[in-house]
Amino acid sequence: MTRQPFIVDFLQNDKGGKVFISILLVLMLVVPALNLLVPADSFFHIPTYTVTLLGKYLSYAMLAIALDLVWGYCGILSLGHAAFFALGGYAMGMYLMRQIGDRGVYGNAELPDFMVFLNWTELPWYWQGFDMFWFAMIMVVLVPGLLALVFGWLAFRARVTGVYLSIITQALTYALLLAFFMNELGFGGNNGLTDFKDILGYDLQADTTRASLFFLSALFLIITYFLCRFIITSKLGRVVVAIRDAEDRTRFIGYKVESFKLWIFVLSAMIAGVAGALFVPQVGIINPGEFSPLNSIELVVWVAIGGRATLYGAALGAVIVNYSKSYLTAAFPEIWLFALGGLFLLVTIFMPKGIIGLWNQMRLKLQEKKQLTTENKIE
C-alpha cells in the first residue's frame, strides 16, 4: 500500500471522473474564448446568451453533486436541498443589491429600492456587512451550513430516516418559501432581489463578466468534484456508504452515525450554497420561487436520471434534464411537468442506476460479447 500524490490517487480508478474533468477543462477555456475572441458573425462564435445558459447548467450540476453526496452515498433523500441553493443565492443577491448603491429607482445609496418602497428608513441588522464581498461570500456558505447543522442535528439525533426525513425536508423548504414571500422579512417579497448592476465593480451585462462567471462556474465545479471525490474515497466516504447500506452495523462497530450524517449533510448544504451564489449573478434574479418544493424534487430527478453515487452522473443528469427543460418549456410549455414525471418513472423502473448505470451495463455486455467471440475463435 504505497501512497501516491492525491490527485493521481483518486483519479486513477475513476475513468468517468477523468472524462468529466477533461470536458470541464475544455469548456472552461474554449467557451469564453469562442465568445470573446471570435467575431460575432463567425460560425464558431458562441453568443453570450448561450454562455450564460451553460453557466447556469454548471451551477445546477454543482447542486446535483451536492445532493448526490447525501443521497447517493449516504442514503439521505433530502427533498429540500434547493433551499440551501436558494439561501446561497440570496446571500449573493444581497451583496449585488448593495452594489447597486444610488443607481436604484429611488436613488437611495443605503437602502435597496424595495425597502424604500416599504417606507423603511434604516437597513435591517441582517443586511449589514453585505456591501463587503468577502463577508457575503462567507455568508454564502455559512447560512446554508448553519441551517443544515441545526436541522440535521435535530433530525438525525431523533433518528428520523427514510420517508419521514424526506417529508420534513420538504416542509423545511416550503416554510422558507412562505417566509421569503413576506415583504416584512426584508428580502424583497415575491419579487425577490433583482436589477443587479455589477459585481466587484464589473458590469454584469458585459460579455467579459459573463464569460468570467462561466469560467468560475466551471472552475468551482471542478473543485467541488475533487473535494467530493477526496471525501468519498477516504475512510469517511466508506463509513458514509456503510451507513447507507447497513446503518445498525455501522453503529455497532463504533461509529456515531448521527455525526457522520450531520457532517456530510452540512458540507452538502454548503456546496449547494456556493452553487446558488454562482447561479444568481448569471440569471440576474433570486426570488422565493427557488424555495419551491418542486425545485427540490426536480433536483432529485436529475440525480436519479444521471445515476446515483457517481458524482459525475448527477452532473450529467442536471445538464441533460435542464437542457431538455429549456427546449421543452419553449416548444411545449404545458407538457414539461408530465415529461419530467414520465422520465422519472421510466428511469426508476428501467434504469435504476441512471444513465451512467446503463452505460456501464452496456459496456460490460460488449466486453462479454468480445470475450465470447474471441473464445469461439480460439476454439
Binding site: 500500500m1 477516504s234 456503510a242 447497513a246 452495523r249 455497532f252 463504533g254 461509529y255 455525526s259
Partner: protein, 286 residues
C-alpha cells in the same frame, strides 16, 4: 435515609470507586465513559439484573438475571422467541430495558450508554441475520470495523499503516477469505458472510463478543472451524454465543444457559441442562 438505604447506597456497583470520585458530565450527571477502564475484578464482566423489556405489553424479557464471567465462553440456548436476541439488544444499547440494570464490568452502566459508546467500551456484536457492508470489499469491511479513532475528522484523514494492513490480512486469513479480499461482500455465500461478520468483530478487538447464531447456513466443516475459532477466542475475550444447533453448542462445551419466556430456566453444563426436567418439558412441549 434509613440504615438499609445507607447500606444499599454503599453496595451500589457503580459506586465501587466512589473514593476516586467519578467524573460526571454537566447537566445530565452521566458518567464519563472511559474506554479501557473496565473493572472485572469481581469475576463477572457482564451483569444483567432483573431486566424486563416489553413490546406492546408482551414481555420479551421478564426479570432476567444473568452474569457472564470474564474470559468465559457461554452458550445461550432457548426456543424461538425466548428473548435471546432481545437480551443482546439490551447489552448493546439497541433496546432500553423497562426496568433492571445492565453493567459492563463494575463501572459502566450500559443502559445509559449509546450504541457507539458501548462498542468503543469493548462490546462487539454479530447480528442474527448476517449484516455486512455489501457494496464494500472484504478488505474494506474489515478496515471499517478495525479498532481506531472513529470520530468524523480523524476518519476523514485516516490512512492504513503497515501494521493495520498486516492485521487485516491476518484476520482475513483466520476467516478464510484471503482469496476474496478485494471482492465485494455482496458476492459471499451465507456462511462466508457469517464469517466476515465474525472477522469484523475480531478487528474491533472487543473485550466481550456477542455472537447471535453464528453457524446458521454453514456446512459441517465450516461449523467445526467456527467452533475452533470461538474456542480459541475465549480466555482473552469473553464470548457469548446464542445458537440453536445443539451439536454445535456441545462441541464448544461450556456453561450453557437456557432462556425461556424472557428469563433463565436453567444453567449448567450441557449434560446437566439436557437432563433438566424443566428444559426437557420446554423443548418437547414445543
Amino acid at each position: 435515609m434509613s440504615g438499609l438505604d445507607n447500606i444499599r447506597e454503599m453496595m451500589r456497583r457503580d459506586k465501587v470507586f466512589d473514593f476516586v470520585e467519578q467524573k460526571r458530565l454537566p447537566f445530565t450527571g452521566r458518567r464519563v465513559v472511559i474506554p479501557g477502564e473496565i473493572d472485572a475484578t469481581h469475576g463477572p464482566i457482564l451483569y444483567l439484573e432483573n431486566i424486563s423489556v416489553s413490546f406492546d405489553g408482551f414481555k420479551a424479557l421478564n426479570d432476567l438475571t444473568l452474569y457472564i464471567n470474564d474470559g468465559e465462553l457461554r452458550c445461550i440456548i432457548g426456543p424461538n422467541g425466548a428473548g435471546k436476541t432481545t437480551m443482546m439488544d439490551v447489552i448493546t444499547g439497541k433496546t432500553r430495558p423497562d426496568s433492571g440494570s445492565a453493567y459492563f464490568g463494575q463501572t459502566m452502566d450500559l443502559t445509559r450508554m449509546s450504541e457507539y459508546e458501548i462498542a468503543h467500551a469493548g462490546i462487539g456484536r454479530k447480528f442474527q441475520k448476517p449484516t455486512i457492508f455489501p457494496q464494500h470489499t472484504i478488505f474494506e469491511n474489515l478496515e471499517l470495523a478495525m479498532a481506531a479513532d472513529k470520530h468524523v475528522w480523524p476518519t476523514l484523514f485516516a490512512k492504513i499503516n503497515a501494521e493495520q494492513y498486516e492485521r487485516i490480512n491476518e484476520v482475513a486469513n483466520t476467516i478464510g477469505l484471503t482469496d476474496l479480499l478485494y471482492e465485494t461482500a455482496a458476492q459471499l455465500s451465507h456462511g462466508q458472510k457469517q464469517w466476515l461478520e465474525i472477522g469484523m468483530l475480531l478487528m474491533q478487538n472487543p473485550r466481550v463478543l456477542l455472537v447471535d447464531e453464528p453457524v446458521a447456513g454453514m456446512t459441517h466443516q465450516e461449523m467445526d472451524k467456527t467452533a475452533e475459532l470461538l474456542k480459541s477466542l475465549a480466555g482473552k475475550h469473553s464470548v457469548v454465543v446464542v445458537e440453536h444447533d445443539m451439536d454445535f453448542v456441545r462441541s464448544i462445551a461450556s456453561t450453557v444457559t437456557v432462556l425461556h419466556e424472557g428469563s433463565v430456566l436453567a444453567e449448567g453444563t450441557m449434560d446437566e441442562v439436557q437432563n433438566n426436567p424443566k428444559v426437557i418439558e420446554v423443548y418437547l412441549g414445543e
